[in-house]
Symmetry: C2
Subunit: 421 residues, 2 copies
């Protein structure tokens, strides 16, 4: 399309498009199904559009759970010390109950201030995080097992924009432009929902190719990295749209560029260096360097935020092992933007990455019916956390090692060796 | 105090005072106790002050449940028809669980648009209300039985201010002034918490006088009204501060001017006319006229909102019977302001009133230990609703009828016949 013919879309038009994609492509709300929206109060103008669309599309009850960063900050500033070891199981258990049998879909709007808790006591932050992870274990389980349809979309808050584009007077506008582009709703896209269909088809083709290969191991090589990530026995690849247990197609991440699967939690060996900062619980963790032995992190350091990283991998035994490995070409639109978003939803779609902690049973064959014990024997990891961090770049090479030990080139200098379709 | 010596207090100072009174006099948050705040997103500047103060006073976890009137309106405009017969039991049950053993105190900030749902389908509004009442039955029970400390304070939203002071360019300022004055935090009060102590002592004295009398019946006479309200056997009078089952003193209503007790739900006879409009679920109901026989409403009409009133008394059998009767002098500060607030928290403190529906076990002797059946036999009403409406004015006379049938004058032309202390 020639620039001259591009439709002029206002911010309001673009927010409407994003709300449409969130409701239809993202959660794909079903007639009569309830919807739970989690968002910060600052995101209210998008939340209200999403609510309107969900109801117009036949949603049952839409429940908005507004967070308030100022309220969260009050807690860390003045809260009673004993309160940091507990959370709200009554609320998380309630949410889990709402989600039973896919009765309630879930949409999260992200865009929190990456530095919100940077000046707070890191030990309290880690304790609060562990308590939250414990309280929300059932909910997280339902989400990772796709017991209901869910999605995550982004909102350009002022606090986030200032971190991504420091000093820029138009930081919020620039972040919105990046979000609209990555979410395939900007003016260059004639029909966002059709664009998502084509993109999902590409990811599906890539996923099926890898699924057929059933590699034993992925071998990552690059600066500071020589890592062999064994894949779980009977692993399955995910990417793009996914189906819930009830058979509802949803896009859990808007945007998404990755294909991903389950590592074998006892067959990861070698060393790896992070290629982008990890914004976690309000702390920015940079230049992570870890060494794995038989799946377990045995050495770890970081150039910044090392204390927060140490706390993270100490949450439980599974926090030191991998639950996900994902491949993203370096030329993906988000990577090409050259922007560092300090947010996993975006940065993980700019680069290959690994995740510490809980694995997705969806990324295991028969993952929905096998017992947790069976999945564990096949190499699937268990933990209260699931935290992604980036290890890909334009300098990374990846081989797939077949079951007979042959190395097949998958990526060179961060790009797929073969096209998707 | 001379006007010249009055301190100048900014809006911010006054909001801080209101937050202090809400946390300390209102809920009286205990060390390590959790706090649940229910408020509209438009009330965020007061909510954040309350949260700060609660944490500084030693609260455990403060959880804010922000409502959003726009989201509510979306539901009534576009929601799936089947959804109006259900609510969120998973959330209400969770809140009830949080409140168990007084672990979580509750603060509600009111100030909703009284006309929010005026243009919506009244049948849907009534169905949604009944579903909400059903889902929140356990929570309401815990509140009425004082199983935890709780309070309600007010916020001058723009929508509410426009209804109270239509056409006034300074409507929000005027409503704030009225709220600050009625809540005893305005500049005329040197120490709000001390002022509340003195006010509670007055209400307590009035309460004890009535408690000692153990009247059989209250007889209301005025224009359009000749109503004999039998009082429950072993009724108890409430007013001002109340004690929870755990013994925590809290002020459930900020402001409050009333003393109240439990009518006998089978011994109310005669007719009564409302003296102020009732703003209920977004509908303003005016000039209610009902006739009671043996405790039950047998005839009902209203000058406006009659359909909504009919739905209300049809929610269940107890909705046609009284659960509360309250006495407020016509000279109370709120009544003296001459302002009609279209909000029960304020208007009920300007006039004597009755409430349809659920009774308070606190207003029955041994109410905390007696079974529901015992309380019912003694005359305490049961219902999913509890809705107050005003029957007092400067023209109402009230007699207390003793057990031997003697009439003792309590109020004449809306004023107490004897002083409080």
């Amino acid at each position: 399309m020639n620039d001259a013919t591009l439709p002029a879309l206002s911010r309001s038009d673009l927010l409407d498009r994003l709300a449409d994609v969130a409701v239809e492509t993202g959660v794909n709300i079903q007639e009569g199904q309830d919807l739970l929206i989690a968002a910060d109060v600052s995101m209210i103008d998008l939340v209200r559009r999403i609510t309107d669309r969900a109801y117009r599309r036949g949603a049952g009850l839409v429940t908005v759970m507004y967070d308030d960063e100022a309220v969260q900050l009050s807690r860390f500033r003045y809260g009673h010390d004993l309160s940091f070891d507990r959370d709200r199981p009554w609320l998380q258990d309630g949410i889990a109950k709402a989600m039973e049998d896919g009765k309630t879909a879930r949409l999260k709007v992200i865009g929190a201030d990456p530095n919100l808790l940077a000046d707070q006591d890191h030990e309290k932050v880690a304790r609060a995080e562990a308590a939250f992870a414990k309280a929300s274990k059932t909910v997280i389980g339902k989400i990772t097992r796709f017991e209901t349809n869910w999605s995550i979309v982004a909102y350009a808050t002022e606090a986030w924009a200032k971190v991504v584009f420091p000093g820029a007077p138009d930081a919020v506008d620039r972040l919105w432009n990046a979000i609209f582009a990555a979410s395939r709703v900007d003016a260059s896209v004639a029909d966002p929902k059709e664009a998502w269909k084509a993109h999902n088809a590409d990811l599906s083709a890539r996923r099926k190719m890898l699924e057929g290969k059933q590699y034993s191991t992925l071998h990552f090589r690059g600066p500071g990295t020589d890592l062999k990530v064994g894949l779980a026995d009977g692993h399955s690849w995910g990417g793009g749209a996914g189906k819930t247990i009830q058979g509802v197609l949803c896009n859990p991440n808007i945007p998404t560029e990755e294909v991903f699967t389950t590592p074998h939690c006892r067959r990861v060996d070698g060393y790896v260096r992070s290629t982008k900062p990890l914004a976690h619980q309000g702390v920015v963790i940079k230049d992570i360097e870890v060494r794995f032995e038989e799946g377990r992190i045995v050495e770890a350091k970081a150039g910044a935020g090392e204390a927060a990283f140490s706390k993270l991998i100490d949450v439980d035994e599974g926090a030191r092992r991998l639950g996900e490995v994902a491949l993203v070409p370096h030329s993906s639109p988000i990577s090409a933007s050259g922007t560092l978003f300090f947010n996993t939803l975006f940065d993980e779609n700019a680069a290959c990455h690994i995740a510490l902690g809980q694995s997705y049973s969806k990324c295991m064959k028969n993952g929905g019916t096998a017992t947790g014990e069976e999945l564990g024997e096949r190499g699937a990891n268990t933990s209260m956390i699931h935290v992604d961090w980036m290890i890909g770049s334009g300098e990374i090479d990846i081989d797939g090692i077949t079951r007979t030990g042959d190395a097949e080139p998958l990526m060179r200098a961060g790009e797929w060796v073969t096209p998707a379709r």
